[in-house]
């Protein structure tokens, strides 16, 4: 038993829903009680989908339990097949149905439905959403490709098969799904990028594909594993059973996009273009195609140097962010972690490279604590970290699922490829004070016209007033209606008491000295000084203590 207040991932059957809803022609019969239909709103509200997810819930009730729930399952399956005429059917159960052991998949198997059927067994008490998505995708592909499996011992297809067949090389893009971060735009960006290198896309899946498309997966010369969280297992299986090579570099960031293209050219036995060969003095494709390299070198960005960045996300985006932050923006990564236990090894390796220990957890309070202790100046995280950062008064950019409706922007904003790098530069640097501006504000802050706290461009990254568990005017996860018209009374917590005790330590000259510090670092200086005072057991915080602390923390 584990206490959870907020979770990064839903249950595994929500992962299965992501696959079904991402595709067309697939229907999912889910043996589940009525409350579980809440999951529909994840798609209709967060993704603003104009279609109901293709899911039929059995919505059994307590009074059904005495009778024949198996009959209910069969009726639901029969009706769903008749009504929706799917090209492939997923049958599974949610946590409660798992306990009553009707085995809906086995029941469906005996029904002679005339459509390919996948019996989904997703253990709800040990696995989570991303695992469920990956397993569903894998099982579906496996079922649909059963007939095409090469006999054991069949030689692997040659990587340059395309040349022999007199066509352009083609690859599949596997892994993009609904409720993934910016998948819609990443697919477009990578498809364009590949086209420029003369490579075609055979199948994109699950997003936008039909079962018949999945049957074309073996026609590609390689599989691009765009999101290992979803496509990792299926790519490995395709490699084992069809001998299709997998491109595993995830093209997020300048370095990774270039590495991705090199890997792809290698796998497909294509000649590497000169501007991907990283030759001295020659402009690389990255320089030509993305603004990030130059923007990062331009003088304004000098002020980004060593900015302390805390990263927590799904594994794919966390690892990519760490690399971009440290290598491409000159930040200092002071914390790196992920809730993706399945990819913990990769995250640990990425952290070790930066001299850090990875934080692998699904407890957002642990993440919030680590964020505070790391004295971060910028947080790159999920919606959960956005809220934590807000409480701590830290600027934040969202880089990964779980999503909010605002993470599905109307404009084109991929994370992958050259354009993705541009988007990342803007969205990570935007919450920070601009370089020259920081300098100018320092110069002019004694000007009578200067208003402390003026920096409207910070938007929601602006320091929160009090910064402890105060409610914020957020709406429902889905769409942010004015769902909080009645302000909840604040409760006095132990943390508030500690805060008050610390605040009373400040002497007048300490406060006066603190006031001289530019407002955009004042909060951090206050926190550091208080931490320092607590550590040293100081009875009061005066100007001297403040400077002692400053010296202590200067790195």
């Amino acid at each position: 038993m584990e206490l959870t207040l907020w979770t990064y991932e839903g249950p595994p059957h929500v992962g299965a829903m992501r696959i079904a809803t991402s595709m067309e022609g697939v229907h999912y019969v889910l043996h589940a009680p009525q409350g579980d239909t809440y999951a529909d709103l994840l798609f209709t509200m967060i993704e603003r989908r104009g279609l109901r997810p293709p899911v039929t819930y059995t919505t059994f009730q307590a009074r059904d339990l005495g009778g024949d729930t198996a009959e209910l399952v069969q009726r639901s399956i029969r009706q769903a097949v008749e009504r929706f005429q799917p090209e492939a059917l997923l049958v599974g159960e949610s946590c409660t149905a798992e306990l009553i052991q009707d085995q809906p998949g086995a029941l469906a198997g005996g029904m002679n439905l005339g459509v390919p059927m996948v019996n989904l067994e997703l253990p709800a008490y040990s696995k989570k959403e991303n695992w469920g998505a990956a397993e569903t995708f894998y099982q579906l592909v496996r079922t649909l490709l059963k007939a095409q499996l090469p006999a054991p011992g069949t030689p692997k297809p040659s990587p340059s098969r395309w040349r022999d067949e007199g066509r352009r090389p083609r690859v599949n893009l596997l892994g993009p799904s609904l409720l993934g971060f910016r998948c819609r735009d990443d697919v477009l960006e990578i498809t364009r990028l590949l086209a420029e290198h003369g490579i075609d896309v055979a199948v994109v899946a699950p997003l936008g594909s039909r079962p018949a498309d999945l049957e074309r997966i073996p026609t590609a010369d390689a599989n691009v594993c765009l999101y290992p969280e979803v496509a990792g297992p299926v790519c490995s299986w395709l490699e084992r059973s069809f001998g299709t090579p997998v491109v595993r570099t995830v093209p997020i960031g300048i370095g990774a996009t270039a590495a991705f293209l090199r890997e792809l050219h290698g796998v497909l036995d294509l000649a590497l273009p000169a501007d991907l060969q990283s030759l001295e003095g020659q402009p690389s494709e990255a320089e030509r195609r993305s603004r990030l390299p130059w923007y990062s070198r331009s003088v304004d960005s000098t002020y980004l140097t060593g900015k302390r960045v805390f990263i927590f996300a799904d594994a794919t985006h966390a690892i990519a962010a760490a690399r971009i932050a440290s290598k491409e923006l000159g930040f200092q990564v002071v914390g790196l972690g992920s809730y993706s236990r399945e990819q913990a090894r990769e995250v640990r390796a990425a952290a070790a490279e930066l001299g850090l220990e990875a934080l692998i957890t699904d407890d957002y309070l642990v993440v919030e604590k680590a964020m505070g202790e790391a004295a971060a100046e910028l947080v790159l995280g999920t919606q959960m970290e956005r809220h934590s950062a807000k409480r701590l008064g830290l600027p934040c950019a969202v880089i990964s699922a779980p999503l909010h409706v605002q993470d599905v922007p109307a404009r084109y904003s991929p994370q992958m490829g050259w354009e993705g790098a541009n988007v990342i530069f803007d969205s990570w640097v935007h919450p920070l004070m601009m370089g020259l501006e920081e300098h100018l504000i320092g110069m002019f802050r004694h000007d009578f016209e200067f208003v402390d706290g003026h920096r409207s461009h910070l938007g929601d990254g602006a320091p929160a007033a009090a910064g402890t568990g105060e409610p914020e005017a957020a709406g429902t996860a889905a769409a942010g209606p004015a769902a909080d018209p009645v302000p909840a009374p604040g409760t006095t917590t132990a943390a508030d008491a500690v805060r008050e005790a610390l605040e009373s330590l400040w002497t007048a000259d300490g406060e006066a000295e603190l006031a001289k510090i530019p407002f955009f670092v004042r909060g951090k200086v206050r926190k550091n000084t208080e931490a320092f005072a607590r550590e040293r057991g100081l009875a009061r915080i005066d100007a001297e203590a403040l400077y002692d602390a400053k010296a202590h923390f200067s790195r």
Partner: protein
């Protein structure tokens, strides 16, 4: 007494009963407003990751740093042996209460998984009450989807509090059902003007401030989904006042009239207090009535508020009712509202969502009241919608709120008229 209560007519005959797929939240959802009503209470769901995800999705991602609700997620080990599960629960509760010393009442909320494995939360509550020596009161109720829909969770929560209510035959008016604090204050003020001085609420604002109950208690339900609580209060000697629910000017007036009659308030005094409110409420309603009048409304079953809302929207806003769905029909609790519905209103109880949506499509109503899962898909088909969940979060009760309530329904139609996108 001259204060007229609505005449009770025979209820409409035709009810479509359906038992197919439902598209309704489970009772856990009511935690979202209950925890705000009683800030010194904590709601601990004993359930699965699905339960945690449901509350999170319904409540909004992280409105609170540390919310006053959470889920004890059952793991494989808990399923293997109930003894372990009980031990684990005790441990977890102890940790939780140590971290949240301000909590006075802890609700253990049962879910589908906890019920299916027969984890006895009543026993757990008893055990924990002994261990905690009265420092924190532990109660339990079911919010599971196999037992409850959406708003029924509140019914069960209140029912769980009932045994703790002291007995007293003191004359009092007891308002039952969560109201927004501001709305509640308004009602108290009006009752005071009417001369009804002892007015108490269930749930109270502080979980420990429990109202007494007994022969002198007149119960006025503020929400239409409290069947079990209403019956249990009657068992304790209270009288249940029959009235329409306080939505809209007429509903609110009749609701207060029921109390006034019960407490012997003279008609002149009632009219003197209420007439100006009624008049002002009608004025506030008017611009929205103009938008809504003649428009056809289809209400999908969701919050159990559909029948009283349909009554308000048809009688006071002039809307035409295509179909009024309700998750379940409690004829006694709905009697006054049912009697005020236009004759031959099509009611439906339960749901078969695909069939019901086919009826929606065939009828092409001007507005559909529905849950969040259905709203955008219907909009995409060109049908305007109003999300039902907003109605349980917004202050919509009382004459003063009638304008706002109507506005919630008029807004989608106004918006459609505003947008020129091609």
């Amino acid at each position: 007494m001259g204060v007229s209560a609505p005449p009770i007519q025979p209820s409409p005959p035709d009810i479509l009963k359906e038992s197919g797929q439902r598209e309704v939240f489970c009772g856990l959802t009511s935690i979202v407003w209950l925890h705000r009503r009683m800030p010194d209470a904590f709601f601990l769901v004993v359930g699965s990751r699905t339960c945690a995800h449901l509350i999170q999705s319904a409540a909004g991602v992280m409105i609170f740093a540390e919310p006053r609700f959470g889920t004890a997620i059952l793991g494989e080990r808990d399923l293997a042996g109930l003894a372990d599960a009980n031990e684990e629960l005790d441990r977890l509760v102890k940790d939780l209460l140590e971290r949240r010393p301000e909590i006075r009442t802890l609700f253990l909320v049962g879910s589908c998984p906890s019920e299916v494995i027969k984890l006895d939360l009543a026993k757990a509550a008893e055990r924990l009450n002994t261990q905690l020596l009265g420092r924190v009161r532990v109660l339990n109720y079911s919010g599971s989807g196999i037992e409850t829909t959406f708003t029924q969770g509140e019914d069960n929560a209140l029912l769980a509090m009932l045994p703790l209510l002291p007995s007293s035959d003191e004359e009092q008016l007891l308002i039952v059902g969560t109201l927004a604090d501001a709305v509640e204050d308004r009602f108290r003020l009006i009752f005071e003007r009417l001369g009804i001085t002892t007015v108490r609420s269930l749930p109270p604002r502080r979980s420990t401030d429990l109202p007494p109950v007994g022969k002198g208690t007149r119960v006025l339900l503020a929400q239409p989904f409290l069947s079990a609580t209403a019956r249990a209060l009657q068992h304790r000697g209270a009288t249940l006042l029959s009235a329409p629910y306080p939505f809209g000017v007429e509903g609110s007036r009749d609701w207060m009239a029921a109390a006034a009659t019960a407490f012997g308030v003279p008609t002149e005094r009632f009219n003197a207090v209420l007439d100006p409110l009624v008049e002002r409420g009608r004025r506030a309603l008017e611009p929205h009535r103009q938008v809504l009048a003649g428009k056809r409304l289809f209400l999908l079953p969701d919050s159990q508020m559909e029948i009283p809302l349909a009554r308000f929207l048809s009688r006071e806003c002039g809307m035409e009712l295509v179909e009024v769905g309700t998750p379940y029909l409690d004829r006694q609790l709905m009697a006054a509202d049912l009697a005020l519905l236009p004759p031959a209103t099509q009611l439906s109880e339960g749901q078969d969502v695909d069939l019901q949506l086919e009826r929606v499509r065939a009828a092409r109503p001007d507005l559909v009241l529905c849950g969040l899962g259905l709203a955008n898909p219907l909009e995409a088909e060109g049908i305007a919608t109003k999300w039902s969940i907003e109605l349980v979060f917004s202050p919509i009760h009382g004459c003063d709120q009638a304008g706002e309530l109507a506005e919630l329904f008029a807004r989608p139609l106004r918006r459609r008229a505003l947008l020129q996108l091609s």
